[in-house]
């Protein structure tokens, strides 16, 4: 870390950026259940008796399920990294 005259400025900028990133990560975590709600509930409502077979639906649910879990794990990982950096 430099002790030059402009060091505090750079430092502040760096901090703000990390705080900003952290906030967006939290936004993601807040939106995630809503996304899950849509992905899990809407097909059941819209597609009742509609296209798709049980096997296809099964695949759909497990793929979205795994996807959501992966996104959540990544977000949490990033969040923990961001917290450690602070």
């Amino acid at each position: 870390m430099s002790d030059g005259p402009d060091a505090p400025h750079r430092r502040t900028e760096f901090l703000q950026r990390s705080v900003y990133r952290r906030r967006r990560l939290l936004d993601g975590l807040r939106v995630l259940p809503l996304l899950g709600l849509m992905l899990f509930l809407l097909p059941a409502v819209l597609l009742a008796g509609g296209p798709g077979t049980t096997a296809i639906r099964l695949i759909y649910f497990f793929i979205t399920w795994a996807g959501l879990i992966l996104v959540c794990a990544l977000l949490v990982r990033r969040l923990s990294d961001a917290d450690e950096d602070r």
Binding site: P33, G36, F40, T54, A55, W65, V76, D83
Partner: protein, 885 residues
């Protein structure tokens, strides 16, 4: 073929293993915790208590009956955990901060520590959970029965009884071992985590066997699904949403889930792992459910119980090891649920029902904390036994009937009635106790009427078909004419709608108590206190911090001794013991001795990091401070009093010392005064005895002796007079006299040959009422003093008599040189004769006697320093004696 005895042996061995794990984890936790006991993975796995035997066996049965619908049971919780940042984090933070012990405690605590709410929620939980426990017992007995060869008879009831008894022993052993203030049971949690692994491994192993062993991989499996009867199922939007909602609510509100999720949480950061790992667990456990159901339907003879496919498939294919594993998985699911549920229920029942009852029966005697502790443990144990006995009884009554299979969702719907009050508690400051009670009670009643009672089969068919009292609008499954809905959806709709409406409406109309408002603010603003969610509470108190605080409060040496002895007890060297609950409690007690119990608790908890200070803590601290303030102000008053007394004593001592000096001086004066005339009397009497002298001399000597003895007598008279006056034994005779006349008599007595006396003033004709003899004695004294000491060539004495507002002032002014300034202050003292110039006949007691007389008469005599000559003023009230008395 697995024999029944082998099965029982394996099950027993498994249970012994669990005992060992629980024992080890408990011990490790007491020693400060091993890596595993406090790991986020253990926490995540313990959450799998959500997956009971009902989901382990029942999910496959559900899939066989209604296709993908079983997924909703796992999708709901997945959504809740994916959104952990919004709800669970807040719940866990509050749970830790407020030292919440159960869902009932949380609701009651938020709504002003309402006992009524706690009891309502406890009843709701017991009502919903008891059939669920019965369901677990049933599934275990059925799974045992599945291994029994045809023709052999096994007493299922006895099996259930043994299982229930074994679970009761396990739960009592590890669930009530110690009354940890934060209600954590490391042993139990560890055992449940192990069981979670067993469950998962069992289902995955069976699934892999079914997909790659029975079928030819994934593609074949999908084809099999398409051609299976399960493919006929079409999603019903109402049930889909309703069940997802119920399972989402249940994962928070079920007593056992709340226990592992909030109460057993030892670190808030564990949620970050559980947020994705628990959905992953759910996904894995449900991954092969549909394939297993499809294979079961195809493989097993028609009419086989789909709820037991998990066991009957490997048994039919003679996969003994797999069957054993599946059995252990189901056994694990059932036992873990029963253990945690009975701990959670026992906590509620004993904390919110038994203990308050016991305390109110005991009255004010129950203040010994050890007393309450024993009762608490006892009531916990009794509650666990009662809960299991209830479950067993329920199983005996309804066992084997279809009534149990639907109880899982019914139970979910029951606890979901807490959701509006819970969400209100966490996010809405305006939620009130009355609103919560109204909402929960309404929901509870509607749930009972529309779902619970019909499900357990106690509702008569006439009521089901024509409504209560024959009122069609009250048909349990078509309330207010809302017919045609799935009974579950119907019940959820009405109970949740009316519950929420009443909760919000009553909350809006009522006014919360101060405690409610404080708690409401504390709950809703749970994250504002630390301001930074980085400040995650540590699980363990920092011993060094504790030592620093203890040193400050107890004194360095005492604190170090305390810590050292605790460290020795724990078998550690050095002076820093492990901050075990026992040690922290002991420290708290020690501190309580110096700062008061509430303050000590608050301080230790602050460092402990487990909890912030609750309102009640603060109130208790305020009480203590008030008591201390009062105490210290009493002390202050006492010390002031003491100081005053000391000052008085000091004054008295000074006075006594002065008096003693005065007395010594007085005695020496008296002896001197007596010695002088005695000496002359002795010497002149010696002359006379010698004889041979002229008669003229003899007469002169005799006169001197006579004069001296007169003087001696006078002196003794004066002394006597003074002592009588000073001791207060003088008797005063009140008489009336005209002042002028009194003065005249005094002048006549004193003899004023050498003095020119003039009487002035307007008070000469006035009469006064006092001891006139004594007063004239003063006058005589003053006149004769003037006569004796006035050093003018023609001595003159002016006597001015005045009366001012009821007060006589008689001034004696002579034209001599007066009393020198330095001696004016001592002239009224005894033997204060100034010079010996004309001392004959005077012992220096005159003015002292005058002062004493005047003070007895209620007046005073003063020297007037501003006059050129000697000037004395006698002041006397008109009715002197009355005032003086």
């Amino acid at each position: 073929m697995v024999t029944f005895n082998l099965l029982v042996s394996v099950a027993l061995l498994y249970v012994v293993g669990l005992f060992g794990v629980a024992f080890y984890a408990d011990r490790a936790a007491r020693r400060g915790g091993s890596k595993w006991v406090r790991s986020p993975w253990t926490y995540t796995l313990s959450l799998s208590v959500y997956c009971t035997a009902w989901t382990f066996y029942g999910a496959v049965g559900n899939a066989a009956r209604s296709g993908l619908e079983y997924l909703t049971i796992y999708l709901g919780p997945t959504l809740v955990f994916l959104g952990f940042w919004v709800l669970l984090r807040r719940l866990v933070r509050i749970g830790r901060a407020e030292r919440i012990t159960s869902i009932a405690d949380l609701i009651s605590s938020r709504y002003g520590k309402s006992t009524a709410l706690a009891i309502i929620v406890t009843c709701l939980a017991v009502t919903g959970t008891t059939p669920y426990i019965a369901l677990q017992l049933q599934s275990v007995t059925l799974s045992f029965a599945a291994f029994v060869p045809d023709g052999q008879v096994v007493d299922l009831n006895a099996t259930a009884l043994w299982v229930a008894a074994g679970l009761a022993i396990f739960t009592i052993l590890f669930g009530t071992r110690n009354l940890d203030s934060n209600e954590r049971h490391h042993g139990v949690v560890m055992a449940i985590a192990i069981e979670a692994v067993v469950k998962l491994v069992a289902l995955l192993a069976l699934g892999i066997f079914v997909v790659w062993g029975v079928s030819d991989g994934l593609g074949d499996m999908l084809l099999r699904i398409e051609s299976s009867p399960v493919a006929d199922w079409q999603p019903d939007a109402g049930r889909w949403i309703g069940m997802a909602f119920l399972s989402a609510a249940a994962v928070i509100c079920l007593p056992r889930m709340f226990q592992v999720l909030v109460v057993e949480n030892s670190d808030e950061r564990h949620l970050r792992v559980a947020a994705w790992a628990f959905p992953l667990y759910l996904m894995l456990i449900s991954l092969f459910v549909l394939p297993i159901a499809v294979v079961g339907l195809a493989l097993l003879p028609a009419g086989s119980n789909p709820d037991l496919f998990v066991l009957s498939i490997p048994l039919a294919l003679e996969q003994d090891a797999l069957a054993m594993l599946a059995f252990l998985g189901g056994f694990s699911s059932a036992t873990s649920m029963v253990i945690v549920a009975s701990i959670a229920l026992a906590t509620m029942v004993s904390n919110h029902i038994i203990l308050p009852l016991w305390l109110s029966l005991q009255g004010p005697r129950a203040t010994m904390s050890g007393d309450v502790r024993d009762v608490m443990i006892l009531s916990r144990r009794a509650s666990i036994a009662v809960v299991l006995a209830l479950g067993y009884t329920y199983f005996r009554i309804t066992g084997g009937t279809a009534a149990l299979s639907s109880i899982g969702l019914v139970s979910f719907a029951g606890v979901a009635q807490v959701v509006p009050a819970l969400l209100g508690a966490l996010y809405w400051r305006g939620a009130t106790r009355k609103g919560a009670i109204a909402g929960v009670c309404t929901g509870f009643l509607i749930w009972c009427y529309t779902l619970f009672l019909p499900a357990i089969g106690v509702m008569g068919t006439d009521v089901m078909e024509t409504g209560l009292f024959g009122v069609g609008q009250l048909r349990p499954q078509a309330l207010f004419g809302l017919a045609g809905l799935d009974p579950l959806v119907h019940s959820i709709f009405w109970s949740m709608a009316l519950n929420s409406c009443l909760f919000i409406l009553v909350s809006l109309l009522t006014f919360p108590s101060p405690l409610e408002r404080l708690q409401g603010a504390a709950f809703v603003n749970a994250f504002e206190r630390s301001g930074d969610d980085q400040a995650i509470a540590r699980g363990v108190a920092d011993t060094e911090d504790l030592l620093v605080m203890a040193q400050r409060l107890l004194g360095a040496r005492e604190a170090q001794e305390l810590f050292q002895s605790a460290a020795e007890e724990q078998g550690k060297s050095g002076y820093l013991p492990e901050p075990t609950p026992k040690f922290v409690a002991r420290l708290e007690r020690e501190l309580a001795g110096s700062v008061g119990a509430a303050t000590a608790h608050a301080m230790v908890r602050q460092i402990d990091g487990n909890a912030s200070v609750s309102v009640e803590d603060l109130l208790a601290v305020a009480d203590e401070s008030a008591q201390m303030l009062e105490y210290s102000s009493q002390l202050e008053a006492k010390s002031q009093e003491l100081e005053q007394t000391a000052r008085q004593l000091r004054d008295a001592n000074e006075k006594l010392t002065a008096l003693s000096i005065q007395k010594d001086a007085f005695l020496s004066q008296v002896s001197h005064e007596l010695r002088t005339p005695m000496t002359s009397i002795r010497s002149f009497s010696e002359f006379l005895m010698e004889g041979g002298m002229s008669s003229e001399n003899r007469a002169r000597y005799s006169r001197i002796i006579h004069d001296e003895s007169l003087r001696l007598t006078r002196l003794l008279d004066d002394l006597l007079d003074l002592s009588v006056l000073e001791s207060g034994q003088v008797v005063l005779n009140e008489q009336s006299a005209v002042l002028g006349e009194l003065m005249g008599r005094a002048l006549a007595f004193a003899g004023t040959d050498a003095l020119e006396v003039s009487l002035e003033g307007d008070a000469q004709e006035m009469s006064l009422s006092t001891d006139t003899d004594r007063l004239s004695q003063v006058f005589i004294n003053l006149v004769s003093n003037a006569q004796k000491y006035c050093d003018a060539e023609t001595p003159k004495l002016r006597i001015i008599m005045r009366e001012r507002s009821g007060q006589f002032e008689i001034d004696f002014l002579d034209n001599g040189s007066g009393v020198p300034l330095a001696q004016q202050s001592i002239i009224f003292e005894k033997f204060a004769r100034l010079t010996d110039q004309t001392s004959a006949g005077s012992a220096g007691l005159g003015l002292a006697i005058c002062r004493e007389i005047m003070s007895r008469l209620g007046g005073s005599i003063t020297y007037l320093p501003d006059f050129p000559g000697g000037a004395f003023r006698v002041s006397l009230p008109r009715n002197s004696l009355k005032r003086a008395a």
